[in-house]
């Protein structure tokens, strides 16, 4: 599949909304740059999976969600979280293992949960977000909410994908499954391990499906609106395959040797931020504001306290 095949004419929203989408994407980009930086400085621990390059998907999809909707993201979840409005401060604090993190430093990069911001979790098990969102949809069905799962191309080879999509279709659950096809699962090109077409897998389960340009935030928004509306209207689950690309390694120790020559540059030329800026025009004000915001967040985060070991941390919720 090429971008051309997937491209649809996208309706650019009014300037204010367009700027807001752009702003969110920029926050994610700058946030991820920051994480990368801090990681190299040894301030962010363990491993991280950055969302740089894929911003349009999370931002476009989350921009159409209502208050009673819920989202399940992945270990590559900073973008999913920030697109939902999770505070950059709380998120960065979490990645730094600080007490002020959204999960008190207990969760870390791969497992961020922020229920207040509709994020039921980031899931470190490939396919886990699909399962969680399917369950969420079962609950939300009662109250008119919609559940969204983000996951990668690689996750479509997991049993969870097949079982849950079938489950959702059988019970007409209000779920939107968003596959971020960034061409690779870790170091392996997706075509090498994926039989047939990804979108067809959902279509075969009689699920309304589309493949879209995942680097066009306005197009993503339009596609997501259609899918979310359908799901909310009780017409059952929808599937979106968003074609996109990640700019940095899968995780920290990945030099990206598997990339085809020129591939990264090609995708950088279709950068979702550049393309949004082209449509919007002048963004200097937002650019400056985000820059300042992130600088402040970093400063605060580095100064935040680490959590004190709690000898009485509870295993169970009390009665």
């Amino acid at each position: 599949m090429t971008r051309a095949q997937a491209a649809k004419p996208s309706a650019v929203p009014d300037r204010e909304e367009a700027l807001e989408l752009y702003r969110r994407m920029l926050i994610i980009r700058r946030f991820e740059d920051t994480v990368q930086d801090l990681f190299l400085k040894g301030q962010v621990h363990g491993t991280t999976h950055l969302y740089s390059g894929q911003e349009a998907v999370a931002v476009g999809v989350c921009s159409v969600l209502a208050e009673n909707d819920r989202v399940a993201g992945t270990y590559r979840g900073h973008g999913h979280a920030l697109a939902l409005g999770v505070e950059p401060q709380g998120l960065l604090d979490e990645l730094l293992g600080r007490a002020t993190g959204v999960c008190g430093g207990r969760a870390g990069s791969m497992n961020v949960i922020d229920l207040e911001h509709r994020l039921i979790g980031c899931f470190g098990i490939v396919g886990g977000s699909i399962a969680a969102a399917t369950g969420a949809a079962l609950a939300l069905k009662r109250e008119g909410g919609v559940a969204v799962a983000f996951f990668g191309d690689g996750a479509t080879n997991q049993g969870y994908f097949h079982e849950c999509l079938n489950f959702a279709r059988v019970f007409r659950l209000p779920a939107v499954y968003v596959c971020e096809n960034n061409l690779y699962g870790e170091f392996t090109p997706y075509e090498q391990v994926t039989a047939g077409e990804i979108r067809a897998r959902a279509e075969t389960l009689d699920i309304s499906s589309q493949t879209i340009d995942g680097n066009d935030v306005f197009g993503v928004q339009a596609a997501a609106r259609e899918a979310v509306d359908r799901a909310r209207a009780g017409e059952g689950p929808c599937f979106i395959e968003a074609l996109t690309y990640r700019y940095v390694g899968h995780s920290r120790s990945d030099p990206g040797r598997y990339r085809k020559p020129g591939e990264l540059d090609e995708w950088r030329a279709r950068d979702p931020l550049i393309r949004a800026r082209e449509a919007i025009g002048d963004t200097a004000e937002v650019d400056r504001a985000v820059e300042a915001q992130i600088a402040q967040v970093i400063e605060n985060a580095l100064a935040a306290p680490f959590p004190s070991p709690d000898p009485d941390a509870r295993e169970f919720k009390d009665g």
Partner: protein, 330 residues
């Protein structure tokens, strides 16, 4: 006084909780229209309708995922995994997600779900429909593990499990489903999870078990009584949290304890009981041992399966041997 069957107790607990709390939903394979392959859920579908009680595809990964996700979003799902042997397929959602959620979310939310599953051997179901997979799950913080032995306990503990805010694995022994019991009281008790029950008081030796094993221990205790051995029988009821106090208390009286487990010795829950006893009550201890199944899969043939399982005779014989008493001595 009415009699109630174990399987009816399960159904009644589900019906009462479905009635009481509309967040409760029940789903699984053939639990709705057909009423469950072990006939534990008849009538629920008819009474509560397809939004509350429904049949799913044969998709345990999805079942467990749906239970987890919906519990995070406000439901209190009770799912049935037909045989305990299939629990590996729900383990990722149960162990990696549901059980960790309360802690890693920094206590933003807990995950109130119940997985019911039929376990246990003796029914000639063979190696892969007869396991009691307690020990796959006993070392999982955040997960509660219930294993009742009587109809009234099954009912009160299942209600307790459904009301518990944490994920609970609720094991039902196949060979107890037809067990009947006189119901005492109004039958709507709720037992909180984590307390053992003393089923028989005794002074010479403590027998600790769960589920079907409790009945075997009680029968063994009768056999032993005729040898002049007075056995105390403890029904743990909940394997996590484990009622450590009950173990210590009984040991302080009997000084000898055998844990009777329907499962292999190495790595079983009986080992945990011995470890707790050794760790916390060593001064009280004269003897500690386990009575378990051999270390191989569960055989199908009746002659093999009967010999494989630790029944009353085998338990009594083991106690006699360990205490150095010959049968029928008294």
């Amino acid at each position: 006084m009415a009699e109630i069957e174990f399987r009816e107790a399960i159904r009644d607990a589900l019906a009462e909780e479905l009635e009481r709390d509309e967040r409760v939903v029940v789903f699984g394979e053939d639990v709705a229209a057909a009423g469950g392959v072990f006939v534990t859920t008849p009538g629920l579908f008819e009474k509560f309708g397809p939004e509350r009680v429904f049949d799913t595809p044969i998709s345990e990964l999805a079942l467990a995922g749906a239970a987890f996700g919906s519990a995070v979003c406000g439901l209190r799902p009770v799912i049935e995994i037909m045989f305990g042997d299939f629990l590996p397929l729900v383990m990722d959602s149960l162990v990696n997600q549901a059980s960790k959620y309360f802690y890693i979310s920094n206590e933003q939310a807990s995950v109130p779900l119940v997985v019911r599953s039929a376990v246990g051997a003796g029914g000639r179901f063979g190696a892969i429909h007869s396991q009691s997979p307690v020990t796959w799950f006993q070392a999982v913080p955040g997960l509660k593990l219930v294993a009742p032995s009587t109809p009234s306990d099954a009912k009160a503990l299942l209600k307790g499990a459904i009301r518990d805010d944490n994920p609970v694995l609720f094991l039902e022994h196949k060979r107890l489903y037809s067990l009947k019991e006189e119901v005492i009281g109004h039958g709507s008790e709720v037992i909180g999870l984590g307390s053992a029950a003393v089923r028989r008081e005794g002074s010479d030796v403590t027998l600790v078990s769960v589920m079907k094993g409790v009945h075997d221990c009680l029968a063994a205790a009768e056999l032993l009584a005729s040898d002049g051995i007075d056995a105390e029988v403890i029904d743990l009821r909940t394997l996590r949290p484990l009622d450590r106090g009950a173990i210590a208390e009984s040991l302080s009286k009997t000084n000898r304890l055998a844990a009777v487990e329907e499962g292999p010795r190495t790595g079983g829950w009986a080992g945990e009981v011995l470890a707790v006893a050794a760790e916390e009550s060593l001064d009280d201890v004269d003897d500690l041992w386990r009575i378990t199944t051999p270390e191989h899969p569960i055989p199908y043939s009746p002659t093999l399966e009967d010999a494989f399982l630790p029944g009353a005779e085998a338990i009594a014989a083991s106690v006699r041997a360990r205490l150095g008493v010959a049968a029928g001595r008294s």
